[in-house]
Subunit: 301 residues, 6 copies
């Protein structure tokens, strides 16, 4: 059997890597990779889910009497793994500006400590999301079914954890946590999005919620809803300006039906109902009921 | 290294759990979890897929001469696992009304027996779905490619199993089986939906088919089609009424192109063709050919 | 405990299989399965990802000094696994026309050799895709984040590998590689699609790109964009004609926003901007800016 | 490829099973296996080792501050697994005499409760064994090395757990725990053997300690020492009498060198030193120093 | 961090390999390994154990009603794996004398077929071994305990399988099967040894039974017994002569106590009892009772 | 179901741990475990075995052409894991004498570098051991069978690696490597033992070779041979003196048959043959032929 000329391909691949590294102005000094790990974060999120909902998402044989042992042990080891990942992110983001390793470590430690302290509040928010889903879906039979089966809940568990990491200066870890849910549910929520209590996404595939979105209480969304940016603001040199508010603000009690697209820093007023497949790029008053028909009527006039 | 105050967070998480359990009026007597397991059902479905299609979805080394040994062993152990899960669902759903354990067990046993007896019929239906996909997609090269690669077929294997479980009084198991496919394919078919022979979903991501949908023979769907409810009927007290017919009825030989949204208990007549991105909330006559353009013309008039 | 009548169900399932095999005119001679394996291809793609991007997608402990050892070993073993799968596909596709085994093996060997030789070029194309994503998304913080987190990049790694396999006469392997990405990202790119350099898909869930699509340089797509076929050409006997050009041609620098549907062998001219949720079935001139509003205006007139 | 006549061999194996079951007067009613599992007990012992020595045999990332969470969670789940195994043993041993299931379960519950209560005492005994090994072996560098590397210590961890199970009426579980250590160390200690504090076995391969052996404090043994039975007492019908004392009694501070064989209910007096490769079937006075030479001298006279 | 000069060590290791290959006159043409795999044989033996004793060594959930499905499926797949290994051995052993591949394959096929046909007889022999152990050990509580816990039984399961492979011209597979048991039990039985029905080894660690040993019915052995060769016969050139009878012949009903060493082609007559730690290099008459004392007396005279 | 009073047992276990830590004067400051890991070393040895014998102990699909890639990658990652373990040992052994972390790391780095440089020499020594086994055992069919099946070779691979670690100041890692082989083979060689080229242990179970043993070229040993210490030298205070020469010196070409026990700093002269089950505590002249009989004769006179 003739071979595959592996030697030559190895050499050609090395050349391609070097081109890229030169173009990216990467050093090629010896050293190992320093980047957070998707697998590690997947394991951490699994543990945190167990610590948040021990009798539902923890190990099957868990008993009420021993919940706290399980929660304490699982939490402790998840937080330590998270600390390692937090250090990797902070070191990575400091790769261009030499910083003191001890300072970075202290920052990572403090971020993980604050994250841990936020967990009970996150559990309460998630309880509210579960209730909202149960009350909003005629097919739901129990809150347990909602917690265990609904992709919208899975996405919100990930989001509420990711959003906290994002707020604590760990946007890369946050992003990985968000993408883990995106891959499993087709729901793409940027960790920067601010989402208040009692949020429910039904079906969910194709939902996109952008970085600077602000969502109020008791909001309900269906599949394929986009809360996106209209256009990207650029600075005078034509470079993208990062971080500016550019996504919608959705007030309390809004409902947005499947396939609606809301773009730009527009405001959907309290209690508005946005019909399916609509295309919204302007403010909607509180209590309004927008449909394709109403929009076309306006458009045709 | 300073710690994470794990003790305090464990206590705060316990408090959050107790609030929830009080609010949900949950007892806190000792006892273990009683809820069906997603992992167990994933393993059961894998086994059933092998038992249904031994030479394609069974183990790679299987030989024709030994198919029946494999099918018998795999089926037997899958059905026993399913029996355990069925008991868990029935006990869970009886948690508010004390019932005799032996009665529940007999019910579970009978449900699994009837499910097993339905498997040959399910195999025949799936053969028809595979043929429909092969004949309907110009890119398909063989029926084996369709069976092994098409997400629409994966979704239908799960659905035809889930629908049977749903019909046998195991809606939670059915739901988990459906969500397993939803997570892998982005196709969200409620296990209650009735789907007749020769059904084909192409591409599939974003398809949503609701609980009381009824679909005839030889129907074809593309990605992002919604067969949904228009609004949720409420009783005089404003509470959602569960289980009422509220999704479309799709007659034989209908084709629905990508992104179409059909809402409410409307009827799509035999052989109708529904164009992409259309929004339908009324009956469509047999043989009609609906497009965005035809709708807008009607709407603008 | 009463049993499940496994014997009877095994017999009934056998009968169902025999019906199918008779209908499909399958021989029932002894012999083992001969079909490529999804699991094997998943492992091969994982290895190739490591060989292409050793310091980012290879093992965490890898050091710059030893990259080539890792690349060489990983590549060699991935290519050998691929050779086995290539033989399986070629034997399967030759199942109706008896061919010489040695000839098939030589063909498989040659295809894998050519595939291997294409890898450095694929790495360079992917570097360009990563850069395009980084420059096109205001939320992106680094090229490494893009490579490791963006589902659009994952889909393109799979596509660029799958497209090469497709071009080398291994369409089934190509299809499996594509479906692996489809399942993880909701992005469905047919391996036949020709996509030039600097391509970027943002969010991505629900994107569908058909078999004969041709895409130029620096094109950008958002979620739920369809580049599909308008209708399937049939021959005089009404049978589908396979392989004819039937999907869009997208020229350099085109941007297509979320939910746009482009159907048929239409041409989107250089630099055109296609608005969200639009429905396009005709050519679009270079530099045009198409929106729902502009289309409706045209449609209402 | 011709097959293997699997059908015929399956039939012949069935026949062989039926012969055995008839000869053993086994019922052939439907029902499942009821026998404790080696794999389950291996996992239980691993957990108990971690609960006994959390910072040495527990998970590597464990911190002092969180030891109790780990110990509590691990213990709780190990005890529940043990309870299941205890029930299996008690049901199995009651297979010929119908007993009430609830009674058996209560007995299993009580045995596991008592076993759990014995664990702190077992930890103290094992600490003493570790110290004895450290002080008795000039090659030992630290107590941690002894705990982690010495097969004699591994054997004693298993034995002290197994002996407690044996005393609580679970001889089969005890036997499995003992055989797990035997397989790893070549040290075969019957769970019935009574071994007091500060016991040390060096090297260990080939050591055999019989069921009714009694060993005092601070005893030291080397490899290939046998403490066995001289002959098996039979009853008037020639059937073996089970359970009678038939193995040696070894008093405090005895040392027994490699390859010595001590058989029967003999007493080795306090502080006796038994030389290597000796063959002892009679009592040895306290403080005696027995060697091959001394024995042969006696024998030759 | 300085590196490890991996390049230089890789080069030096290559040089060492080349020296060896030159010394061994190995070709260095491209090609892959062709040697049976220890892991594959371990899996095959596990499967065969399940097929031989389905309700005890098969999967825990197995039911009487479905035994044959399990046995048939497990056997079929184990035999196919064995066929692959058998081919590897036969090709390896033919590496110096070019043989026809088809001929080798037919030989492998025939050997595996004959092996399969021998399994029911092996089951019956093992049933006899289990009974012998149960009757011979006062500590044994049930035949199931013997089957599941006794290392001597594990060794005999492996031996009776290995001996059949040895007899069918697959000495290398046989050797690997034997060494798997040796590693787990410390009992080293050469696969060539002929052992008749009702054989029992108690404790077992350190037992060695050589290639040309012949053992009759109802023989019992204790730990550390050696049935070995006295000296190796050499041909006139001083080279070892392989395969000549050089180990003991042990007649029916012999008992050999721990540590006895029997060397050379001697005969232990029917019913002889060989005491512990004895050293025998001459024939022992039927019914004799040999002890260290009796030997020394003879020796001193 | 009543619980197990886990809280109380957790408290009692904590108390037991604290007693021990107080007795051992252990600090109880927060901090994590710092002790080398048996699992890590098992993985390292597996990798090193592959790097030393790539075509026999490496991955099955390896090809001659790609050996060096495999060797380089495997070696690099094994050495990095080893470096981590080496640091753990050096930090642990420095726990009572505060040392500079950087100094310890440099020491670990240097030790691993020297270990790596020794590997080609170790490969050559092992080749010699394999040849010695092949030539010394009439049952051996090929050098490959010896390398893959003989427990004595497995023990020597571990020993030659462990001895090098021992010589480089890593006695704990060395010990773990040795115990891994002891557990699998029943052969217990202290890593300190000096063993020259062409060494062969047949069968092996029960062999013990002590720390200060010195063994010449072409020595052959059988099962259950002990090369041990006669008594442990103590200092004037009665404490064991560690590290003094106390085990036998075995010159070139000595053969020691099964069960022989050689104790103390005695010398077995070149070419001596030591019979089975002998007990030697004095020097043996070169060329002597010692048997039980010859010893007893001497003893009886």
């Amino acid at each position: 059997m003739a071979g595959f000329e592996v030697n030559e391909i190895v050499a050609a691949l090395r050349e391609a890597r070097e081109e890229w590294r030169d173009a990216q102005k990467r050093s090629r000094e010896p050293g190992s990779r320093e980047f957070p790990s998707r697998e590690a974060l997947a394991a951490i999120v699994e543990s945190l889910k167990g610590a948040l909902f021990p009798m539902r998402l923890g190990p099957p044989e868990l008993r009420h009497e021993s919940e706290d042992f399980y929660v304490g042990h699982t939490l402790d080891s998840a937080l330590q793994s998270l600390l390692i990942q937090a250090r990797l992110e902070l070191r990575y983001s400091a790769r261009h500006q030499p910083r003191d390793a001890a300072e970075i470590d202290a920052e990572a430690q403090e971020a993980v400590r604050a994250f841990a302290a936020a967990l009970p509040g996150i559990r309460r928010l998630l309880d509210g999301d579960v209730l909202a889903a149960y009350q909003g879906d005629p097919a739901a039979r129990s809150v347990d079914e909602v917690l265990l089966c609904y992709p919208g809940i899975l996405a919100m568990i990930h989001h509420r954890l990711a959003h906290r990491l994002y707020g604590l200066g760990l946007p890369l870890l946050a992003r990985i946590v968000a993408e883990l849910a995106h891959g499993q549910t087709g729901i793409d929520i940027h960790p920067g999005a601010q989402i208040d209590a009692g949020f429910f996404i039904d079906h969910g595939t194709g939902v996109v919620i952008g970085e600077t979105t602000v969502i109020g209480k008791r909001v309900r969304l269906y599949q394929a809803v986009t809360l996106g940016a209209k256009r990207f603001p650029t600075d005078p040199d034509g470079k993208l300006q990062k971080g500016l508010p550019r996504h919608p603000m959705v007030e309390d009690d809004v409902v947005i039906y499947a396939g609606a697209t809301i773009l730009g820093r527009v405001r959907l007023g309290k209690g508005a109902v946005i019909g399916g497949n609509t295309w919204i790029t302007e403010d909607v008053p509180a209590g309004a009921n927008i449909t394709q028909a109403s929009l076309q009527k306006a458009g045709c006039d």
